[in-house]
Symmetry: none
Subunit: 192 residues, 4 copies
């Protein structure tokens, strides 16, 4: 059942969140999900596969919501800020997943790094398109895109570190929107 795989992914987030990826055993994860150790392998071919599935799920949702929220908008700045808010909203609904994707998974397993590079690249690409419409394509647009993505990730990570307090992440979205909105608007007016 799809349900069992979901429970295993949640248990992975739980246990890896407590102990770190290397220190989390498959037995711990399966037992946290209420199953025997061997059952894990009926739903995932190897320990790291559950983590890869989590990365996939988070980024699929992030990209889906980001694209969705930009759909009705015209200006690149509006699109950009809508994307940032959407990303933060998705991450805000699952702090454990956010912590896994931004803090625990990087460097923990080659398969994680491969997948992170791929999906992180897609997100950067989405951002870069809008930024380039304002600043023109080039090094500046590349760096600003990275800055925006890094700012969002750090704000989200920091929010998780502080215990994921209710409502703070939405306000953080507005603050980021104001900072990058102002900067991009000014840069767009002045040019290089």
């Amino acid at each position: 059942l799809e349900d069992k795989a979901q429970r295993l992914m949640r248990a992975t987030l739980d246990v890896v969140g407590e102990r770190g990826y290397a220190q989390a055993t498959v037995r711990d994860i399966a037992e946290r999900a209420g199953m025997a150790a061997g059952t894990f392998y009926l739903y995932f071919p190897a320990k790291e596969a559950a983590g890869v599935a989590i990365i996939d799920r988070v980024y699929q949702e992030v990209l889906r919501r980001a694209r969705e929220s930009r759909a009705g908008l015209r200006g690149p700045a509006e699109k950009l800020l809508a994307s940032a808010r959407a990303v933060l909203s998705v991450l805000g609904k699952d702090p454990q997943a956010a912590r896994f994707v931004f803090w625990l998974a990087p460097g923990a397993h080659p398969a994680f790094d491969r997948r992170l590079a791929q999906v992180h690249g897609e997100l950067l690409e989405l951002v870069r398109e809008d930024v380039a419409q304002i600043l023109g394509a080039g090094e500046a647009a590349d760096r600003v895109s990275e800055a925006l993505v890094g700012a969002v990730a750090e704000v989200a990570t920091s929010w998780v570190r502080r215990g994921a307090p209710d409502g703070e992440l939405e306000r953080a979205g507005e603050i980021l929107a104001r900072v990058f909105g102002t900067a991009l608007a000014a840069w767009g007016r002045e040019g290089a």
Copy 2:
């Protein structure tokens, strides 16, 4: 000798950079440093101690250079941007260390997370003081500080991912300075 410990830290960066922390063995690291496995334990009490030492060294240098570069300046915005440039300059001199601190170490070992939380907190504090002088202390200043630190880290990480091309990091510093300089100046004028 202090020299041997340095060689072991460099070898740790090499091997962990290639394989990830969990996949890097003490034997690999010691052999990369031209020693036998047992010798590692004459300089570090446990495998993770070398990584902790690296985190310490990087952040000590980062904080030292950031404080130094702000010393002669008056305005908080100038201080802030000087700090950001200083941080990028330090990271730029040792891409492997930057990758370790921002990508490989987080989540890899409880001791890493403890130390990272501490030194990362110190850096955030340094930034927050200046930001608060412009925006006033409060949630906005906290978030903007995180955004700035996250932006710098992502730009540095991305630069390492691209192979640490010469000169790009300096230009990235100017771009970040312009983005955050503009935004902070405008916000400071307008207020909340």
Copy 3:
């Protein structure tokens, strides 16, 4: 049905022949027979039971055919050589089974060894009776019986290794008959 058990025994020969006994899983065997894993246990109480059944079937057929072919004969030498031909004829009809009994099963499971010791002993006994009629009971008869059985087994195994080429096993039977026939006749004339 008896039919299903037969299909499972054939599948066992297939899969064990390809991978070896320890590397052949019950699931592989059942699927090769077109069934689900659990169905195996409706026909055999445990994994090794199918192999034991194969050993039984092969030796029952071997002993039956050997006894049959000796029925009309008088001289012990004739009986012996008829037996050898009969054994090779049975093995020749099922190379996979021959390979299992002489190569794969020995040592693979305690139950195999117990059963092999028993049926192998019966075959040796059959041979020994005839040999003893020529050489007289004693160590010489015992060793020559073993030699004959070992020669037949190795010739059959080697034939399987060479891919079970058509007709060669019949000619091998004649060659063995000539070698042992000559030797026994001479020894019988000369005595110890």
Copy 4:
């Protein structure tokens, strides 16, 4: 030390002889040799490597002694029978090894089968050369060579099964020599 590897090979023969290859654990083997489990892997890269080393050692000794014992002889029949005696003498000095090579190893692991096919082939080749000098090269010589090797192996195996009683194997060598000596001499006189 070479000594430790030898002790591990002996322990492998002990434990595998009692339980069969698949049922013998590396931990059992190492403890039987008076070491910890991990120490096994300092001397062999994997569980099966100790078995392969045993096969190699037995066949090297067998081939060495067979070639040695034939050195001073002229007639092919004399060479043949000297070889058979030499082989039985080597096997007789290490019944456990004989049982491993002829009973336990075949089919137990792909690496065993590969090595057995190779060394068994070398032994057959050695025998075939002499047989061919008497019977002429061809199918008869091939089968008779196999018969001789199979007879020797079965006699040795049976001797181990009976508990390796002192002196019996030497007498068995004389009996085999007489049987095959007579048969080959007669066949050589009469021709096909």
